[in-house]
Each structure stands twice: as C-alpha cells, then as structure tokens.
C-alpha cells in the first residue's frame, strides 16, 4: 500500500519476528505487514538475522529415533488448516481473528462502536468504529497501545493517521484522536491492559463492556 507514513518501529518489529510480542500486538503488526510492503521488507530482513542466529547458535543432540520418525511421516496425508482471505477493508489476519465472520459491533454511545477480537491477560485487541468528525472518547491506558487505521483517518496531538498508518502510543501519551469528517474511521487497536475510557463509560461498567 502506498502512502503509509507511520510504520512499525524496529524494536517492535524485532519483538514480533522473535515471537516475544504478545498475541494482541502481534495481530496489529501482522495486519500492518499485510498492508505495507516497506515494513514487510524490513521484517524479512530481520528474519534473515534470525536465520543467521539459528545457523550459528550451536546445536543440541537429537534423540536416536527422531530422524526416522520424521522420514516415516513424510508421506502422511496433511490436514490443511483453514485459510482466510482479505475481505473488504479487513486484511487476512483480521479475518482470521474474526473467524471469517463480519464484526459484531457493540455500541459505546455517541455512534462509537467496538468489536472485541480477543481479550486475555496478555492484552486485548478490538476493532473501533468512530463516525466521521467524532472524537474517540478520552482515554488513558496502562501501557503500550497500537492503533492501525483500516478505513478513514484520524488526527490527534501527534499527527494525522490514514489507512495503513500505525500509531504507537505509550502510557505517557494523553491523546484525543478525532476521526476526520466523511467516512467513518475504523481502527484495529491493541492494548496491554484494559482501556479506561474516562468520559464515556463509568468505571463501574467497564468490566461489563470489557474495555
């Protein structure tokens, strides 16, 4: 995709390539990689480093039967895992997280909607739908927040984010994203802890909304 201006920072990309990035963030990174050849090329270069380390890192003795066991299995039928394809604005990794179905939106009020894709102790990841011209409710977060634009655009104190752009916000950033006028802004957002929407939903209700 051309025109992407906000990319994945290297430390995050290395964390993804190395497998140490929690699932929620990995989904956002994999989705950006599906939309941005620039970052895909950088990820591939990092994988080359990983491969070099694999080759030069030393060996461990294998137990006697492993080689034969693998050879015996070469002709076994393969069970194919289901594969998902991009659908509309949703790249394949998002479609996989959605299980191939359209998002189930839940209203957060004022036209803002969300669809939670996964939520566990490692973090949560959701789709957010913000009508054009509408502000994303003021919120703080306890750690890293990744927001990837899939449709429309938003602006906040740090700049403008259009389709394919990734905003990386740490807990220091108090930001108020506002969707640009026109088409609704749809984002994929991952946080490592429950988002705390201040103005929209009273804290007591947060466990119910799981935000």
């Amino acid at each position: 995709m051309t025109g992407v201006r906000h990319h994945i920072p290297d430390p995050l990309l290395v964390a993804y390539v190395s497998g140490s990035l929690p699932q929620a963030y990995s989904l956002v990174v994999a989705t950006h990689l599906s939309m941005c050849d620039d970052c895909r090329a950088r990820a591939t270069a990092h994988e080359a480093v990983g491969g070099s380390i694999l080759e030069s890192c030393g060996t461990a003795d294998l137990s006697g039967g492993l080689r034969q066991r693998v050879f015996d299995m070469l002709d076994e039928p393969v069970i194919e895992t289901p594969r998902y394809e991009r659908s509309g604005i949703f790249p394949a990794p998002v479609m996989e997280a959605l299980g191939g179905l359209p998002p189930k939106w839940k209203s957060l009020g004022m036209g803002v909607r969300q669809s939670i894709l996964s939520h566990d102790e490692g973090g949560s990841v959701r789709l957010l739908y913000i009508p054009g011209g509408q502000a994303v409710p003021d919120h703080g977060h306890n750690g890293l927040e990744l927001t990837l634009v899939l449709q429309g655009a938003f602006r906040d104190e740090t700049g403008r984010f259009g389709v394919g752009d990734l905003e990386v916000a740490d807990d220091d950033l108090e930001h108020t994203p506002v969707a640009e006028d026109g088409v609704a802004c749809i984002c994929l957002a991952a946080t490592d802890a429950a988002l705390r929407f201040r103005s929209l939903v009273p804290r007591l209700l947060q466990p119910i909304f799981r935000i």
Partner: protein, 216 residues
C-alpha cells in the same frame, strides 16, 4: 531460471551435446551461479523442485540439531522441543513449494516456521501472520537475484560474527525472544545500529524485488 539449477539440467550441462555459442555461455554462467549458492539453498531447491529425500535428509541433519538448540534455550523441555523440531521439518517438506529463494534465505524461512510453531504450541492459538503475497503463477526465478540474496545473508552472518561477545549476546536474545517486555521497550543496549546497514541492504533489495513484481 532456477529450473536450470536442478540436477537434471546439471547432468545435461555435462553431456557432450552441441549447442550454439550463446546457449553455452548462458549455461556456463548458470553453472557458476549454482556452484556459488550455499549448500542449504541447493538442498532446499532440490526438495522443492524434485522432492529429493536425500537433500531433505541433509537439511534435517543440518537444521534439526540447531533448531533443538535454540528451542531449548527458550525453556522448553527436550522432548517438547523435539516435537516442535519434528513439526518444523515436516512443514519444510510439505510447504517446500512456498520457499522463495528470491525473498528469503533457507535459514530465515525455517527460523520463521519454527517461531510460528513454537508460539502455536505455547499459546495454544495460532500466531497472527501477514497475508501471503500473491505471486504470479509462473514466475521465472532470477538466478542472479537468488545468488545475491544468498551472498548478502553470508555477509550478514560474517557481520554478526564480528560483534563483540556482549553485543552478540544481546542480538541473540532479541531475535530469540529472550528479552523481557521492558527490555524491548527500552532497547538502548541492543546494537541494532551495527547490523542496520546489513539489514538496510537486504531491505533495499527486497523493496526493489517487490516493485519489480508489481506488488507495490
């Protein structure tokens, strides 16, 4: 053209046939290029193109003990690590058609398969991976590009070897996923800068490659 790299056409190369001058020059060049490829790439191409079990055995003997080594480092038990090694090597055999030596070196490709498998086992859910690039059905591989990537990777490896031991350890930890979250967020100690020029070279090539194929 990588088809010309298969053993069959190599045999043809040695056969005393009469060819016109142009063809023999081309073949001579292709022979030189094939001889410069790393063993691992040659084995992997033989597995991909000829389903060559001997070549697969060589790949196994080379990569399986290394895979077990890095997987054990992550704290998996030896027997669980061997299960992962088994799955990874079977994937190498089954998905060999996906191996694209213009975009990834064998070790990088296997590294990524291993990471995916390891995470699937640990998290018990599939690791999110990017959409696959849709490549034209009949791409003719460019042997020069394959060789260039192969050699670039060998240079990268040499650059890694030249790192000071402490830096080298940091790089290993980073790429094997042994850094804590705070390490990742505060990666001042990671000597990414020292290998960045290598990564950048690879990057330029890959970006060029993507452009060539009309993917951007």
């Amino acid at each position: 053209m990588l088809t010309s790299l298969s053993d069959q056409s190599l045999a043809a190369l040695d056969a005393p046939v009469t060819v016109d001058r142009d063809t023999s020059v081309v073949r001579e060049r292709e022979k030189v290029e094939r001889e410069s490829l790393s063993d691992q790439t040659v084995w992997m191409l033989a597995v991909r193109d000829n389903r060559d079990r001997v070549a697969f055995g060589r790949l196994f003997d080379y990569f399986a003990p290394r895979l077990k080594g890095v997987i054990c480092r992550s704290g998996m038990s030896p027997s669980q690590a061997e299960d992962v090694v088994q799955d990874v090597m079977l994937t190498v055999w089954r998905k060999a058609a996906m191996f694209d030596p213009e975009r990834a070196q064998v070790s990088a490709w296997i590294f990524q398969i291993a990471r995916n498998r390891q995470i699937d086992v640990i998290r018990k859910e599939r690791r999110p991976v990017p959409e696959e690039l849709k490549l034209p059905e009949e791409t003719q591989e460019d042997a020069a590009q394959v060789l260039a990537l192969d050699q670039e990777t060998q240079k990268l490896r040499a650059a890694l070897r030249r790192l000071k031991p402490a830096q080298r350890e940091m790089v290993e930890k980073a790429y094997l996923g042994e850094l804590t979250h705070s390490d990742i967020r505060d990666q001042t100690g990671l000597p990414l800068g020292t290998i960045k020029s290598r990564i950048r070279l690879g990057l330029e090539r890959l970006r060029h490659e993507l452009k060539e194929q009309g993917l951007t």
